[in-house]
Symmetry: C2
Amino acid sequence: MTGSLPTDAIRELDPPARLLMGPGPANAHPRVLRAMSVGLLGQFDPEFTEYMNETMALYRQVFCTKNQQTLMIDGSARSAIEAAMVSLLEPGDKVLVASFGRFGLLLTEIAERCEAEVILLDAPWGTVVPLETIEDAVRQHRPKLVATVHGDTSTTMLQPLDGLGAICRRYDALSFVDATASISGMALETDAWDLDVVSSGLQKCLGGPPGIAPITISDRAAECIRGRRHVERGLGNAAGNGRRIASNYFDLAMIMEYWSPERLNHHTESTTLIYAARECARLVLEEGLAARFARHQTASRAMASGLQAMGLTLYGDATHRMANVTGIEIPGGVDGEAVRKSLRQDFEIEIGTSFGPLKGRIWRIGVMGYNCQKHKVLITLNALETVLRQAGFKLPSGAGPDAALAVYRSVEAA
Amino acid sequence: MTGSLPTDAIRELDPPARLLMGPGPANAHPRVLRAMSVGLLGQFDPEFTEYMNETMALYRQVFCTKNQQTLMIDGSARSAIEAAMVSLLEPGDKVLVASFGRFGLLLTEIAERCEAEVILLDAPWGTVVPLETIEDAVRQHRPKLVATVHGDTSTTMLQPLDGLGAICRRYDALSFVDATASISGMALETDAWDLDVVSSGLQKCLGGPPGIAPITISDRAAECIRGRRHVERGLGNAAGNGRRIASNYFDLAMIMEYWSPERLNHHTESTTLIYAARECARLVLEEGLAARFARHQTASRAMASGLQAMGLTLYGDATHRMANVTGIEIPGGVDGEAVRKSLRQDFEIEIGTSFGPLKGRIWRIGVMGYNCQKHKVLITLNALETVLRQAGFKLPSGAGPDAALAVYRSVEAA
């Protein structure tokens, strides 16, 4: 029972000031970090519920939607995926998953655990799924839900979504999109594209920490979920509608009431991460979505130009690259992990590798949110040049940063 | 797509500096708030995985256990309950729930959603469940899991647990305890009491924010969970053991590997809340568990003496009261909600009411973690006296704070 801790053993937090240029998390904006040191409030204090309401209003703008049900799930990005699936799907329901990477496969995994019948459309990694292929499969299988990923960081590809909602409405299916990696960095039009449920996370283009997941839910998806409403024992009577949702924590019928004027008691809201989410959205909307998308696009072009000027080859279908994460084929004869280690240890810069078939085959460099800034693009290219030269890779000296700067100069002159 | 936000509409965070003397969340320690403004790291950066390892080591001490599997679930306290249940229980498994309040009923709710067969031992609210009653039921029903709550804040009662583990081992059952409200405020001996899984949260006696849930898992519970190990598609091959766990997010078999040297990719860890959890535990162990328990015990005695001296009646079985939350019967003729509102609006002090049958019947005053300090006990009693006097309740002037001070004086003199 004694708890004496040698205070020199586990010291005060003092992490290296690392530049996180991997596929995320990226460094959080200083205003978001400061917001997280603000004192707590009780979860039903009127000031806190007002912050919750404000957060809903802000994220409606971020998601480009009028959906009343625009709220936060307390967990990592995948927690919101699971909340959507377990609340929408009953055992035996058909789900069509359009997958083109690791996070598409995650959708199949989560849907299978809901005991749904999964139909997998699996595009080769490095490409996306044509909308016509999706429509053909929807016509053939008539799923209850069509699920896909917007930007799959594992392959750095961006799935076209304009038209997906229309296909789903045509065949009376619901649509789900995981937009964790794209939100606020690339156009995502929830309402204009008729998407039913879109989930996300703060740690990519939103410039916040991982741990809380914004989600938006259309009225028709909300109606489907409310058809399974059961209030938990200890709060109300046990009567309920339909088949009870298999998870208490992810029961969106209850969570929607928690975020409504009813304020049904459910989990204890993560005060600090609500503060963070709210501040992320304030930053996005102060900048404006169009300006933010342009900033990501320019940085992406600059990074791509720099990498190619260094003699490196970008990974995947060039017409469908995400703007915030770039895949680079690791050149023959170069030890990819040694390069990452030197970048980290000598330059305090983190970049990523990838998963499954791409592990050790590509690097992934992220330029997003607070890190989507000219000097961070240039610093990273300079560092990579040094490390690659030391690794014996032949490359034209200075070509990377020069090419990136040229992109910025042309944009600045426009 | 335009995102212009009137900046005067949703302003910079500036919550009232409220004293949170309800059943939790309480105010976080300033060191914990500061830890949450520290810059992020990549989740697989060696410095971050070392912080994860340190957090495991710290919480082994907090939980009084040697369990290797002592880690964090990214979600509110109930997320760890669900992770334990969904990972341990298969459909049809028997669970005995010893319940004495709203959070015991929550255990039945979560177990039922796992399609377990729930046997409910339901003690009258305001009492606890005698261990002999539990043993009789275990002998009769032979459950796979016996689940209970340590301190149930809804009734302010503390369930005796010394002996529970032995009963379970005798009949080859596993034990689960939700210790969210008691951890680091009252003795909790995971190993000495032979408990298999104990879950918790930061926002009560640990003096941290809600949003992340420390959990500890015995070797035999971990073995049971590993019997259902399946690695998700996109990471490895699809072969697995036993019946797949019904949740991906709460799959403890994968989460244990994420927290092991294998560092299997699962969710993206909540960097900021790991920082918070680590700092909470550092504070606990610097103070020492015994000293911390004594601090809570003294504050509880002082608060109880003060309330009784004011002519108020404490709720529930006096021999099993929690040390950190005190229930008070709302006197006849007093509008309980009006009292809470005046405390909040005039004094910036939050206290709670309760749930279900106790809603509007009792107040709950919490004195825990960073708020477990003499001056906060006294300030709260003084404020309550003023508000009750204004509400027309007759009480001896100054008796509350005087009685509380007398308790502190006697302890200080010892």
